[in-house]
Amino acid sequence: MKIMTCPMNGPRNIDEFQSFGPVRDELDPEQTADADWSRHLFRAENRKGVVVEWWRHVPSNYFFLAERDLVSNEIIRTFDASQRSGQS
């Protein structure tokens, strides 16, 4: 089975994890037009390449970020959300 390294729990089987999809920037509800809301809700990063995604280690309910290649499925790195800087 594929192994994912959880920043808190170390290497675990991939079926202990749940993907929450590519990271999206938060929108300000007061400032956002309908078209931008629609884009925010329905368009997710899907380019062939590396994405930054939210993942959860289900047994410990710990959310973190992972960089993963959507073509090779290589998990490049995983890190705590507090270390997110300059990512989008």
Binding site: F42, N46, N73
Partner: protein, 413 residues
């Protein structure tokens, strides 16, 4: 050796019929360029040529004919969806399959044996009632059946009475069936070729020349093609291809995995699927049991198979039919599905005037091969989207008029 046989074997005039000609040279321009030589693209080409008199058509295929999701789906044909718009559309699709062998003069081996979807919970049964009522209202054969009827339909089924996965009832869809997926594509390709459509295999689209709101030309690895109209029908590559034209589709790609067993004698007369087990089975006309369909739980462009998914599908199959436990697997594969947020396709106009979309077919595209091709051909020929396609417009995501078919798709999501 009989002399007559020898004469035929050595004769240069031996009557060899060529259904699909070898890839010709690219012309500098075509009235319609169809990107994607799968079932949908070929169906559209056939309908353009036969019903709209448009024969200056090039179908561009990156790989070989019908080698993508047309070859990888599990051939389910049905119309038991839940939205009225979806049911009306898929119902027309089933009707076209009923006469498809005659239409194509090619045996597509359509077998309308019915589909039984199983409920293991009261909640699932309630959703079946909603689907059955909507289906009946729109004139399809869809009904909720009880335990006794389930057992009569499929006597070999493990009902698991009193167990954790007791079968409480089912959704019986007498219109459901299967057809030979390759034959559907080959039949359309042969008919389209006969009327002058050119099929260009190993021709990869690498970009678009866009001026204002129009696509002027399609750039390929074999040269530039000026075009009147363009259709994108590239299955798992729809997001990628549309992006080259600056159109960002609401699509995320996931692999969908399936597998077949060794051939067994005919024992399974219907299509059987289970909502809770995320598993469905159909016995092919060769006797192999086709088992699907597990979507990987995260986005990916790789068509590798995984042991996890094999275990999951095998577990579901053996639970429903315990005697399958000793059966060997012959093949496993995956296809890249272009999933939309509401599990309905995206058909019709794009933000560009002459670029048309037949996209977002996710895990449900094969059954729509005839109807999507027919209706997209009508759209391209007239420049107007017919009423039956209007609900599937890309704009629905801007106007929040989604068509949620989440519960009515067969694979796991």
């Amino acid at each position: 050796m009989p002399l007559g046989l020898l004469k035929y074997g050595l004769s240069r005039d031996y009557p060899v019929s060529e259904d699909i000609p070898a890839t010709p040279a690219l012309k500098p321009s075509y009235d319609v360029v169809i990107i994607g030589g799968g079932g949908h693209g070929l169906s559209c080409a056939h309908h353009l040529a036969k019903y709209h008199g448009i024969t200056s058509v090039a179908v561009l295929e990156k790989g070989y004919l019908a080698g993508g999701n047309t070859a990888r789906n599990t051939t389910t044909i049905r119309s038991n969806y839940i939205t009225p718009q979806g049911i009306a559309f898929y119902k027309e699709g089933v009707a076209l399959f009923e006469t498809l062998s005659q239409e194509l003069d090619f045996n597509v081996m359509f077998s309308q044996r019915g589909q039984l979807t199983l409920a293991h919970s009261e909640a699932t049964l309630r959703s079946f009632h909603a689907r059955a009522e909507m289906g009946k209202h729109l004139g399809t054969r869809t009904e909720v059946v009880d335990q006794k009827a389930v057992q009569e339909l499929v006597p070999s089924l493990n009902m698991d009475y009193g167990g954790a996965l007791e079968i409480l009832g089912g959704l019986w869809h007498a219109d459901g069936g299967t057809a030979r997926h390759d034959a559907v594509a080959w039949g359309y390709a042969a008919q389209a070729s006969r009327r002058g459509v050119e099929i260009h295999q190993r021709t990869e689209v690498q970009g678009f020349e866009i001026a204002g709101d129009r696509v002027q030309a399609v750039k390929t690895n074999r040269g530039r093609i000026a075009c009147g109209q363009v259709l994108i029908a590239t299955g798992g590559m729809n997001y990628d291809v549309a992006l080259m034209a600056g159109v960002e589709l609401p699509i995320r790609c996931y692999p969908l995995q399936a597998m077949v067993t060794q051939p067994l004698k005919p024992w399974l007369n219907t299509l059987v699927s289970s909502v809770s087990l995320h598993t469905y089975l159909v016995q092919s006309s060769r006797g192999e049991v086709v088992i699907g369909g597990g979507s990987d739980p995260y986005q990916l462009y790789s068509t590798r198979s995984t042991l996890d998914m094999k275990e999951h599908l095998a577990e579901g199959a053996v639970h429903l039919f315990p005697f399958l436990q000793g059966v060997r697997l012959l093949r496993q594969w995956a296809g890249i599905t272009d999933m939309t947020p509401d599990n309905s396709p995206i058909m019709g106009a794009s933000p560009l005037d002459n670029l048309w979309l037949d996209c977002g077919w996710g895990t449900w595209g094969f059954k729509a091969t005839p109807v999507a091709g027919k209706r997209m051909a009508e759209t391209i020929a007239s420049g107007r989207v017919p009423d039956i396609l209007k609900p599937f417009a890309l704009e629905r995501f801007e106007t929040f008029q989604l068509l949620n078919e989440m519960g009515a798709t067969a694979a796991s999501h």
